[in-house]
């Protein structure tokens, strides 16, 4: 199973979209079916009310007005049963209520929003995919490259996820490496590190409190080894505290350089 679906844009650039997993799709389906179940229950109660309590009495002749209501309810049931997914996927641009909650979306393979044709095909095939509590769908999704069920394959659609991926279970969002914490050339020059090394050390420093001491002991020598070797320091025999002191040194040196740089920039722009 691939993790990504590539969109080839008209500009000839490939963008990647993450495919939704079987689990989130199953949950979205479950939610949608709960919504449907609620609708069916309401319809059934209305049906009973219109038909009258003597539904089991075959000879009971129901009034003309209520026959029309019963007929109407039957049609509504049918439209809800076949139309729920078609309507909401079209309206929500690939998202039913359940999919919206799970932050997943139906899109065309290779880019582009879905059309009525796609939606009709993938949802009319639901009776087949839905066999055995969506067992058939699960089986095909498991073995297909892009996690497609039969309806997806026939329609040429995939389901993608729009959830932000959380790379560490307890990541401190503010400290996570984004471009907010950019690396300036000045910081690299002062510390003598490559951008990659600098980034690694800074991330380590920001997140060290989230790891156990044992894990830090295991990981830090590997991170720091090549750097210390280059700067001519001794790695072996140093305690964790001593190693972390190196990290702190690099990071604070870089941070100071960054601060000075931005101060200079501000002064320059103030003068202008």
């Amino acid at each position: 199973m691939l993790d990504y679906d590539l969109i080839e844009t008209p500009e000839n650039v490939e963008l990647e979209r993450r495919l939704a997993g079987i689990g989130s799709r199953f949950l979205a389906g479950l939610l949608d079916n709960l919504v449907l179940l609620a609708a069916y229950i309401v319809l059934f109660l209305l049906f009973l009310a219109a038909w009258g309590v003597d539904i089991l009495d075959e000879d009971k002749i129901i009034g003309a007005a209520s026959t029309v209501v019963v007929a109407f309810l039957i049609l509504v049931f049918f439209i809800v049963y076949w139309g729920y997914f078609v309507f909401f996927e079209l309206r929500g641009n690939g998202r039913t209520l359940g999919k919206k909650h799970m932050k997943i979306r139906v899109v065309r393979v290779g880019g582009g929003p879905i059309t009525f044709t796609d939606v009709a095909i993938r949802n009319l095939l639901r009776p087949v995919d839905g066999f055995g509590f969506y067992g058939i769908a699960g089986l095909f999704m498991f073995f297909s490259k892009k996690a497609q069920r039969l309806g997806d394959m026939a329609a040429g659609t995939v389901v993608i996820t729009e959830q932000d991926r959380d790379y560490s279970a307890r990541a401190n969002k503010r400290l996570a490496a984004t471009w907010e914490a950019e690396i300036t050339p000045e910081a690299l020059r002062t510390t003598g590190l490559t951008p990659r090394e600098y980034n690694i050390l800074r991330n380590y420093w920001a997140r060290r409190s989230q790891f156990t001491e044992e894990a830090r002991q295991r990981v830090l020598p590997r991170l720091l080894g090549p750097i210390l070797e280059r700067t001519g320091h001794q790695l072996e025999g140093q305690s964790l505290e001593a190693l972390e002191e190196y990290v702190r040194g690099f990071v604070s040196k870089g941070a100071r350089a960054e601060q000075e740089e931005t101060k200079e920039e501000q002064q320059q722009s103030d003068q202008q």
Binding site: T67, V70, G111, T117, A176, E182, P195
Partner: protein
């Protein structure tokens, strides 16, 4: 260019594009001023390239995904599906596109018709020769055909009459359309599922008619089957043709890849089956209101023959005249890979 430099110089563009996207919210590009719109179209291609470059520089995944997400959101804004007007599209679909579509795919429908009638004839002959075998073909509804005394056309209508008309019409409509949808959907088994649906329905009908004929009630049977049945069976057979179209596209892909062939087949098939809905609606109304009515058996048979002929004329004759070149927008079916029914 170093990754750090790349981030630093390109960051303003990403953040500006992100801002513009956030401003459109769920209402699309129309909320943007002209200047902003120009900005969006200028920024998007550059940021799309940045997304590729971020991958090349192996920036950390969070940054890569963020740039990628901005580019995709902008792509979604700029390449949005044009809203089709529902009513004109529907009008056009039923007035010209559908009959043409049917005429393009008729070989599949002929195959479906053949399968249905051969199996029906088989069941008819079997029950004629061995009347007790009726139980093999029809499990339920036997109370309708039970009893040696036989039933007149009037008796049979009476049974229909006892049921409330409107709910019955709605129920039959709904049930028959579901059968048609299933005949389409189970075509994805390479056509085997569709063949099963056709065989079951064909044998049931054949056995039913044979049973009434055995009890000298052939006329009663025809009088109560034809008014709605002609249209209903035509529609089921078209749905069967749709299932076979999809099934064979999967089983025999020809020059296309199997997946591409299935997609083309599914597209052809889904419109073929969706177009049968009005036929089922009309058939359901007839079954609910005309079949149980007090008009004579001959009149009922006439109703069936007239609706059948009308449907056939619709399918074979409408949309024959070519529209003037360039007039109107392409219909909903147009635009896919065009495969003639014969060569795959």
């Amino acid at each position: 260019m170093t990754p750090a430099w790349f981030i630093q110089t390109r960051k303003p563009a990403w953040e500006r594009l992100e801002q513009l996207i956030a401003r459109t919210g769920s209402r699309g590009v129309r909320v943007l001023a002209e200047k902003e719109l120009h900005e969006l179209t200028r920024l998007y291609p550059a940021v799309a390239i940045d997304a590729a470059r971020a991958r090349m520089y192996k920036l950390d995944r969070t940054t890569q995904e963020r740039i990628n997400r901005i580019a995709i959101a902008a792509h979604g804004l700029l390449y949005k599906r044009r809203r089709t007007k529902v009513l004109p599209t529907l009008m056009r679909f039923f007035s010209t596109d559908y009959p043409r579509h049917f005429r393009r795919l008729w070989p599949y429908v002929v195959f479906s018709v053949a399968m249905f009638f051969v199996s029906g004839l088989g069941a008819y002959v079997t029950v004629q020769l061995r009347p007790s075998l009726i139980h093999v073909f029809i499990a339920e509804q036997l109370d309708m055909v039970d009893g040696e005394k036989g039933m007149s056309a009037e008796d049979m209508s009476e049974r229909y009459r006892r049921m409330p008309h409107a709910p019955m019409a709605a129920g039959l409509m709904v049930n028959n359309i579901s059968v048609a949808f299933n005949a389409f959907a189970f075509g994805i088994t390479g056509g085997i599922g569709t063949c099963y649906v056709l065989l079951v329905n064909g044998t049931m009908l054949g056995a039913f008619i044979a049973h009434f004929t055995n009890h000298n009630q052939a006329y009663a049977c025809w009088a109560n089957l034809t008014p709605h049945g002609v249209l209903e069976i035509m529609a089921i057979l078209i749905a069967g043709g749709a299932g076979l179209r999809m099934g064979l596209s999967l089983a025999i892909p020809g020059a296309l890849t199997r997946k591409a062939s299935l997609r083309a087949g599914a597209k052809d098939a889904v419109f073929l089956v969706l177009g049968t809905i009005p036929m089922f609606v009309i058939a359901g109304i007839i079954e609910g209101f005309v079949t149980p009515s007090y008009i004579s058996g001959d009149a009922k048979i006439a109703v069936g023959l007239i609706t059948g002929t009308a449907a056939l004329a619709y399918l074979l004759l409408l949309g024959r005249a070519r529209p003037a070149a360039g007039s109107g927008r392409p219909g909903i079916i147009a635009g896919g890979p065009t495969l003639s029914a014969g060569n795959d």
